[in-house]
Amino acid sequence: MTEPATDPATRAPDRDISEALCQQVANAYQSRAPLRIKGGDTRAFYGRPVEGITLDMAEHSGIITYDPVELVVTVRAGTRLEALEAALKEQHQMLPFEPPRFGQASTIGGAVATGLSGPRRPWAGAARDFVLGSHVITQQGKLLRFGGEVMKNVAGYDISRLMTGAQGTLGVLADISFKVLPLPAATDSLRLDDIGIDDALKTLSTLGREPLPITGAAWHQNALFLRLEGGQSSVKATRERLGGETLADDFWTQLRDHQHDFFTLKSGQALWRASLPPHTAPLDIDVDEADSFYDWAGSQRWIKTRDGEALRRACQQAGGHATCFTPAAMGGTDSPFTPLDPVVEKYHKRLKAELDTHGIFNPGRLYAGL
């Protein structure tokens, strides 16, 4: 037997268990018994805990179709991110939104359900921007197709993007089609030292107005970290212009997956994620500078604090929002996500009532009663 060229451990087993999954959902609908949808279970910490019978998606794995020339891949939700990204890399392609992995078992379904995106997000787009279509298991246990495998498709409502980030509260993502992109021809990362946050934000704002190949910009403890990706010529020229120390490439995966030392919490602290309009000045909150890590050119800030409420108020004042990323670290919280405006909440509840009448899909995962 000849071994495949890549490590077999990173290949996704080809298993379609959609029929069994549909049956389990239909049963849950019949008996009005809530389901806890689980892939690799590496993101269970995120959001509110769900009580229910486990709907195990991990077995539902494999790449269904992948045509590099079409720039489209369709993959079952339980496929491990590691396996999917390895398959794309073989063809010199990638998921441009850099989904974070919080463990080897992290699946693509979990990545889309949580809708989280990595350091490239401000330049390339978010998870939802690359979702072209999906098969969704509805409350009655039917496997339905929305969107498709083409780049442009405006027929019907965009159910696939609605499901992205909804954390399984509106339906079960069975498989997902993505737009993929070629890996950049060249990449280089650099570190500029002794630069305060105000200067860093000013620099990023100035650079941001030019068509430079920047695809990562972070700041922590007076160092500005930049990633350049693009054509050989522009990456080289930009690097020469910006100078700085060469930064190891794995800096960005460590930041993406929270493996960087910064993400170690002190007792009583929780990790918060502040999402802010570009070019927001440092927030007026009582947090040690060492406990803040700026990503997304300042639009996404990781903050370790014991006083999340003050942070949340400051973010809302600045036109953004704050999420308690590790609720367990502060003994749990009723609202890890910023509470919704009453009108927006009303339409969330109506959508939930329409698509999940008996509240069987991850009830309460995002908000109480949703």
Binding site: V69, M151, K152
Partner: protein, 499 residues
Amino acid sequence: MNILYDARLDGELIDRDKREVLDALEHAAPTLTLLSREEDLRPFECDGLAAYRVLPMLVALPENLEQVEALLKCCFELGVPVVTRGAGTGLSGGALPLEQGVLLVMSRFNKIIDVDPDARLARVQPGVRNLAISEAAAPFGLYYAPDPSSQIACSIGGNVAENAGGVHCLKYGLTVHNVLRVDVLTIEGEHMTLGSEAFDAPGFDLLALINGSEGMLGVVTEITVKLLPKPTVAKVLMASFDDVEKAGRAVGDIIAAGIVPGGLEMMDKLAIQAAEDFVRAGYPLDAEAILLCELDGVEADVDDDCETVRRVLERAGATDIQQAKDEAERAKFWAGRKNAFPAVGRMSPDYYCMDGTIPRKELPRVLKGIAALSEESGLRVANVFHAGDGNMHPLILFDANKEGELELAEDVGGKILELCVAAGGSITGEHGVGREKINQMCSQFQADEITVFHAVKAAFDDKRLLNPGKNIPTLARCAEFGAMHVHNNDLPHPELPRF
């Protein structure tokens, strides 16, 4: 099947007396401009799909939010349908009025509220023209990326409603990828902000849902768009082919070489001739197809990419490859493509533009199918194609003054869309379903899927007052449409009554 609103198939509408509605609206919003005389209503009887015309009961031209809110609350109370319209350039009849309804025209909401070069975003009202945003951003070296061909005239509110595209979608995305935030009024007159100036917002992604929802879920009253730095250079290559299939394969080869062009367009022989006659773009009249490939970015990268693309095109069998020498020639190359629709319009009294999308690899097969339909019907079809992202615009040439030709053109159009669906594609890439493709929705989606769409609609507008009869067909309509397309004696939706 009549394409105009059919209460039997599209659902009953409340028939209010015009005077009663006018009085109620004048009372609810005393300063609101309302048009009610036939001669004033006439200019609003159709959008860019001029084959379908209906006089609305009333036209409202609000100038401020309070007026829109009062109008919506009043219509909600009375059960009067509301069709929202922007610049009226839509090609699918999405803003086609209803006899029993109010046409809410947002064109007076035309202010650019703010351009913020540091945050690289612009806040605009829905009636602002697409191109005006890029013009306002230009002094800062920024622009708004989506560029539908109608960008001189079309408004950003309509772009959101249709999730408009353009020739640069493959690299820069559709409207949904470039809008950060929208303010919406619900049919009940409530204010809602979806999205955020930050890159995300808590809760469901209702911003993604509202993009492309064709005015069925709410009325967009303000939009915040993302601005991008203008690429330093853009260069365009034009390649000629003696065979359409070869040109189609070359498109895939360019992508396979790891290049994502800013624009990648294809035209067939009839479209080339039409464009050349009209604007003298310098297109080769003997070619069966041409490809226009635009590469943009930083000069050094663009030069490298041009070299790579040139080699790919040579290998793919291009008979001639020209690179625009300068900005003037680049503009000339594009002028032919951008004027392809009016150019075809000169060749024929009428034309009907389709908007199907397909996986690129299906291009040769679908083009063959289109050629067969053209031959069978006797109607000429010119093909213009956003080749990079698989979005086809076959233009069916006909003469509406000839008995039965409009119906024949519609029939050919419908069959082309069904070809696209069968090839794994979609009935619409960027023009929207509107009224035009309401029947073809039944080919692309099953009854259960359409039921989910109705559930989403019900969450926002359970009285079905926003743009009824557009975008999502009723199951009764699909049953009727299906009855005309019975395959192997399998009657779709046997549970539904037939009309």
